[in-house]
């Protein structure tokens, strides 16, 4: 610890918190992170598969959109469907996260919503006319999701019970309930045969069109809710500072409960879209872990619904595309998870360069930074 050796020890790299960055600079950095991640995936794929670097992207593109230039749109519809389901779950968790309530339970809330839809479709199918049954399916799934979201919120509001772990555990409880239900209805076969009664109607060319339209409407509605409604404003205040919220007379507990009901309800809609709008059946993997991906969609989209549209599209593109690359080269399909994980890590990491700036000390002597 001699003091002489310290003389030249002046730290070379110095990290400073930035003032706010101009929005286009921030998004420029995020875009760069995405590009870097996508390039990395391309390089890794090229090395693993022996395809040429550019061909990898060709496979990805064709894998996602199919032969769209020849007028075949089925792959495009599927892409749209996958995107809106992920987006819907992202829209659901956004208000909760904005309130700093870590709702990791979108998976379970969507499953329970889907279960409610399935239950109504099976139980009342043929007994009620379709015009009554379909609304019943929709409403019951919304209510079921809301209740599933409300349970952890009650304990959070009353005893400040850690919601991250609570919601996480609720996912597995939901999964087991579905497993139980499927076993009973499927009679041990672990499959429920598709039920057509009470399913959402098909409009237009694709069965996915209605799902896409519903989520598009939801996106606009969520944007308006968060930005222009009084309740949305309360969510922001509670998320920024509970002290301030109390100071201006916001009932924090009420906002927590209300927001989690909303979050659960939108998850319920996602479950309903999957069950009544797509599969017409249900199983443990109906949501397929997208509840977690949705958290990242909401976070990376900065809780802005329109940015979240782009983020879900990006993730679905990478997932489908990377799976296709893996598929056509005898790689395991989990390559897709790795790719998505990689790009998300890039995006999460790049926030550092938006909030902080790294200065080299020697270089800037006398120069105004």
């Amino acid at each position: 610890m001699s003091q002489n050796t310290k003389k030249h020890h002046e730290p070379l790299i110095h990290i400073v918190k930035r003032d706010d960055m101009v929005w286009w600079q921030a998004w420029g950095i995020r875009l760069a992170a995405i590009v870097l991640g996508v390039l990395l995936i391309g390089i890794v794929s090229a090395v693993l598969t022996g395809e040429s670097f550019f061909e990898v992207y060709g496979i990805m593109f064709r894998g996602v959109f199919g032969r769209i230039f020849e007028g075949k749109t089925s792959m495009l519809w599927k892409f749209g469907q996958d995107t809106v389901i992920l987006l819907c779950l992202g829209l659901a968790v956004a208000p909760a996260f904005k309130m700093k309530f870590w709702n990791c339970g979108a998976e379970g809330q969507a499953l329970i919503g889907g279960l409610a839809a399935m239950f109504c479709m099976i139980q009342f199918g043929g007994k009620l006319p379709e015009w009554m049954l379909v609304p019943l399916v929709i409403v019951s799934s919304i209510i079921a999701g809301a209740i599933w979201g409300l349970i952890p919120a009650i304990f959070k509001a009353r005893w400040n019970t850690n919601e991250t772990l609570f919601t996480l555990m609720m996912n597995y409880v939901a999964t087991q309930i579905i497993a139980y239900y499927v076993y009973i209805v499927g009679g041990g076969s672990n499959v429920i045969n598709p039920v057509e009664t009470g399913a959402l109607p098909v409009i237009g060319k694709s069965q996915y069109l209605l799902n896409i339209l519903i989520v598009a409407a939801l996106t606009v509605a969520m944007h308006v809710y968060l930005k222009y409604s009084k309740q949305g404003y309360e969510i922001t205040v509670v998320g920024e500072s509970q002290n301030t919220a109390r100071y201006i007379g916001i009932n924090v507990k009420k906002v927590v409960l209300r927001t989690m009901m909303l979050s659960g309800a939108v998850c319920g809609i996602a479950g309903m879209l999957l069950v009544a709008g797509t599969d017409h059946s249900i199983n443990k993997d109906t949501v397929g872990g997208q509840g977690f991906t949705a958290i990242m969609v909401a976070w990376l989209g900065q809780f802005n619904p329109f940015v979240m549209v782009l983020m879900s599209a990006l993730i679905i593109f990478l997932r489908t595309g990377a799976a296709k690359v893996a598929d056509s080269n005898m790689l395991n399909s989990s390559f897709a998870d790795i790719s998505v994980g990689l790009v998300i890590l890039m995006l999460v990491g790049c926030e550092f360069f938006i909030q902080y700036s790294v200065r080299l000390r020697r270089a800037k002597k006398g120069v105004e930074a």
């Binding site: 003091q3 409604s229 009932n251």
Partner: protein, 511 residues
């Protein structure tokens, strides 16, 4: 030993974003002396000392220790140079014992031995006359005990340059005298002691030399024996000022708010308000004086409906209806629904009064967003109000959409006070509204409070500067250890009288 430079700063500059905290500061502290760093709040004293103790790293300039150039890049480096800092906000781990906190981060030869450490701590206590139980957990301690832990922590490491940041802010006069005695003992041991303060009388009674900072710049160093209060004030504020705060006679004082025998227990279970009774008139400023943490915050929060009471009553005389309403036990929202126009400028501006990440318009809405039956927000009126306040109070901001956390302390306070006054209150409570503000902004705030008073508002002003309290307030309520120790007339009371009342029950409350 004396007059030998222990530490020397040359042309130190430090900026945070666009804020210059220190600019070309030069300073020398000698061995065997007590050096005061004097300056107003926000003059850059703490930032400067943080650079000596390795918390911040200077953008420019050099530090010399014992004449040798030194690089202090981390607190560890500071220890190696035998520099120890006692921060204003104690850096202690709450769930640890005193001894665990003291030996934290050390690499002693005998390994991890709490018993040996406790024995050494007791020896240090004896040497300098401290009282401390090394096994006591920090979260059960009183502030003065925590400070003792901090000082012993530094001594335990063998520091011979000690920096104390506003050490007396949380102490009673008796505790302050005790601390000063200890510091003098250390000086006589040949240690170099730097004490940051803005209290002139402490500077004069304790230090050998005084260095003055103003707005981040170094003004000069003088020997205490050859200076006086007015010269130091002049150095500190730039020109000689007499406070000269206008004070009009209260017009038609009627009781607006009554507090009867209020008891209040905080979350940790200690009694923070003990049988508090007083009243506030319309058209007067009631000052609240007391040592920091004597229950001032809880008192205001009880009135605002943010803190539950154990017993007692808070009564509001409604000038419109003539009714007397009970406020305690109600939420802020219920209080507002009663038609009580209560405005509150809390101590924690960005943590309670405002939302740092929201812009000025959205912060204006905090009070008014509920208006109307629509489910949606109405941003036009808040925007007009924001523009009006920026204009009227000369808020310096890049624009109306700038997040308030990017404004300077004075401007943040103007936004907050402006909003609270815009609500046309009948009761206005302000906790430390000029803390951290420059002289000009402080006067803006005093004038605003006076205007409110003349409009017939009942103003409650919690302050720390006795001179201000005595010149601004009509009556001063003194609070000590959660009890009202006296209510005096602001026009006739003396500083000594108030100071005495502030400490009256301290001794009793400790036991």
């Amino acid at each position: 030993m004396a007059n030998q430079a222990a530490i020397e700063l040359k042309n130190i500059t430090k900026t945070f974003g666009s804020v210059v905290a220190n600019k070309n500061v030069n300073l020398t502290a000698n061995r065997g002396e007590i050096l005061s760093i004097l300056g107003e709040n926000g003059s850059g004293k703490t930032t400067l000392m943080n650079m000596i103790s390795g918390i911040y790293f200077p953008d420019e300039g050099e530090i010399f220790i014992d004449g040798q150039p030194a690089v202090i890049a981390s607190p560890k480096d500071a220890f190696d140079y035998k520099i120890g800092m006692i921060h204003q906000h104690f850096k202690l781990v709450d769930v640890f014992s005193a001894a665990e906190n003291i030996i934290l981060g050390l690499k002693e030869k005998e390994g991890y031995n709490l018993k040996a450490a406790e024995a050494r701590i007791s020896a240090i206590c004896e040497q300098y006359g401290f009282e401390l139980d090394p096994k006591k957990k920090i979260y059960t301690m009183a502030v003065s005990e925590k400070q003792t832990v901090e000082i012993i922590k530094v001594l335990y490491r063998g520091a011979d340059i000690l920096i104390l940041d506003e050490p007396t802010a949380v102490l009673t006069p008796q505790e302050t005298q005790k601390l000063f005695a200890v510091l003098r003992k250390m000086r006589d041991d040949g240690k170099s002691i730097i004490i940051i303060t803005h209290k002139l009388h402490e500077v004069l009674s304790l230090s050998d030399r005084v260095a003055v900072l103003r707005k981040g710049e170094y003004v000069g160093t003088v020997e205490t024996a050859k200076t006086n209060e007015s010269e130091l004030t002049e150095m500190m504020v730039g020109k000689k000022i007499s406070l000269n705060i206008e004070r009009s006679e209260p017009k038609d004082p009627q009781v607006r708010l009554e507090v009867h025998h209020v008891d209040c227990t905080n979350r940790e279970g200690s009694l923070v308000l003990d049988d508090v009774s007083f009243h506030v008139n319309a058209g007067e400023i009631l000052g609240v004086a007391g040592i920091a943490g004597s229950g001032q915050r809880e008192l205001l929060e009880v009135i605002a409906g943010l803190q539950k009471t154990d017993s007692g009553a808070v009564l509001y005389h409604n000038p419109k209806t003539g009714n007397v309403d009970l406020l305690q036990g109600k939420t802020p929202l219920q209080i507002r629904e009663l038609g009580v126009r209560l405005s509150f400028v809390p101590e924690d501006r960005l943590g309670m009064g405002l939302v740092g990440n929201m812009d000025i318009t959205d912060n204006m809405m905090l009070r008014s967003y509920r208006k109307g039956h629509s489910a949606f927000l109405e941003r036009r009126a808040p925007k007009d109000l924001a523009e009006h306040i920026i204009d009227e109070l000369e808020v310096v901001t890049p624009g109306i959409t700038t997040p308030v956390r990017r404004l300077s302390g004075g401007n943040v306070q103007k936004v907050l006070v402006g909003r609270e006054i815009a609500a046309a209150p009948t009761v206005l409570m302000a906790a430390y509204p000029v803390r951290g503000l420059d002289i000009n902004s402080s006067y803006t705030i005093y004038n605003l409070l006076n205007q409110q008073k003349e409009k017939g508002v009942a103003v409650i002003f919690v302050g720390e500067d006795l001179d201000v309290l005595l010149e601004l307030c009509d009556r001063i309520l003194v609070i000590g250890g959660g009890k009202v120790t006296g209510i005096v007339d602001g026009r006739t009371a003396t500083k000594e009288q108030v100071g005495l009342l502030m400490t009256k029950t301290e001794g009793g409350a400790e036991q």
